[in-house]
Symmetry: C2
Subunit: 254 residues, 2 copies
DNA sequence: CGATTCATTGACCGGGATCAAGAACCGTGG
DNA sequence: CCACGGTTCTTGATCCCGGTCAATGAATCG
């Protein structure tokens, strides 16, 4: 069974057996459990290790001086949190677990070694950074031009797709262990208004929520509500090889 | 006289003479003039070259299906537009000139060669990508938590700072050749409301605008209005060596 | 079984959108 | 030189989406 890291990176390119083995080894040595709201790395810190989400859910966020929190990205299993830290001096934002999560630590010098001597792996990490940047750009459009309803629909669709791509959901149901306040911090809305939009999406039978288990009842309808375009995710291999494993997982959704 | 590219990259690290020469050569061979509104590269394209802004002003943008345009970033002189294109298959957004601008083209294979064999230059481009990502994150906070007044103030302060950092302004006045509609597309506001906020900023004597020439009359006041934090720009060398050329240009502003 | 967090709903308000109409500023040609 | 058509800027009037405040359930947990 491949590590979630391999599942994620293979959306971009196929790996040699050696590269795949290295990536699997990367996340298997040191693993640590984090609880809900627990910080994995904080703004201003410089950790000697980099971190990769293996299970659960984490987010990039920033605390503002007025006490409010802005969530800038959700990190699903397989997602490197801070691969760039060995280039930059310090984090300009924090990362915390939104639910009980298992996080792998990778020593910085092992990373550096891989980046210098294994171009296939270096390329995959580059790609990951650029995909993150694309997601951020999409979020700017989100906040600039979509209304509250579209934003919430978009966020749900994107998270569903990314979870599916790394294989943590098989059908239309998935664990999305966050509160409506978290959603509000991610969309720039208030919890009250997030609630109203979720009520609407349920009334329209696009989604269903039972506890922390979410179900997309009508993927096409949700996608339409979200005005979802997929190119920004740069799923290069999925596009070239629709019959790859990653392609099968995303069939009909992108 | 160093190329704007060197000026920009030196905010991050000092270069060896050889690296500096290479970077200067990079932008000196093929240069092209683009007019206002002219596209430099379009969404979905894959150019064999990468582009670097030498003078004028460009922006990253995306056209939405309803016809509106979202500007996601301003590209000041020295800014690489699409250095990532040799990793990704295609652009997920477009880039156009906002004013008459000179753009350098660099053949992709020369770039690839530099990235593989000149770690100092590769690091600088990596850093640039990560700085762009930081700017995007800041913009998300911007749109999520700042009101219209703060957004406009923030945008002006940031552009002023980045222009100053690459040496295209010496005092408090600078050419900022964009329309209020452009500002609206960048902030997610309407042109009407952008105008009202600019009126207010002028009434408060924080800025002055004469044609396309903008003047920051009260940098401290503008910074306060913008609630500006600088860490996300990762001006590493400026922080470590405040007496470097780049540091002198930004003295008292960061 | 209290206590605390989270979800839900209603009433009201305000910032920014929308609509509309002039005014100022172009480049162009007669 | 002025006349012109087209942007761009400016200002006013009105409206609505989403914020704010508040109260009540529902769920989770020590």
């Amino acid at each position: 069974m491949d590590s979630p890291l391999v599942m994620k990176m293979e959306q971009y390119r196929r790996f040699s057996d050696e590269d795949r083995r290295s990536l699997n080894d990367l996340t298997s040595s040191r693993q640590q459990e984090y609880g809900t709201r627990e910080d994995i790395i904080r703004e201003g810190e410089h950790s000697p290790d980099i971190h990769i989400v293996l299970s659960g859910l984490a987010c990039r966020y920033k605390l503002l001086e007025n006490g409010s929190r802005q969530i800038m990205a959700f990190l699903v299993p397989g997602h490197p949190c801070d691969a760039e830290i060995f280039i930059l001096k310090e984090m300009d934002h924090s990362i915390c677990a939104l639910a009980p999560s298992v996080i792998a630590s990778v020593p910085g010098d092992i990373m550096r070694d891989l980046m210098l001597h294994r171009p296939g792996i270096a390329l995959a990490f580059w790609w990951n950074t650029l995909q993150d940047e694309g997601v951020l750009r999409e979020r700017i459009i989100d906040e600039g031009r979509r209304d509250a309803y579209g934003r919430i629909a978009f966020l749900i669709y994107e998270v569903m797709l990314r979870m599916r791509a790394v294989g943590v959901i098989k059908d239309q149901s998935f664990d999305f262990p966050i509160t409506q306040s978290d959603l509000a911090d991610a969309t720039g809305l208030t919890p009250v208004h997030v609630n109203r939009m979720l009520v609407k999406l349920r009334e329209e039978e696009l989604i269903a929520i039972e506890g922390r288990r979410w179900t997309v009842l009508n993927a096409a309808g949700l996608r339409k509500a979200a005005k979802f375009e997929v190119s920004y995710l740069h799923l290069d291999r999925v596009k070239d090889e629709p019959e790859s494993e990653a392609g099968k997982r995303l069939k009909g959704l992108i």
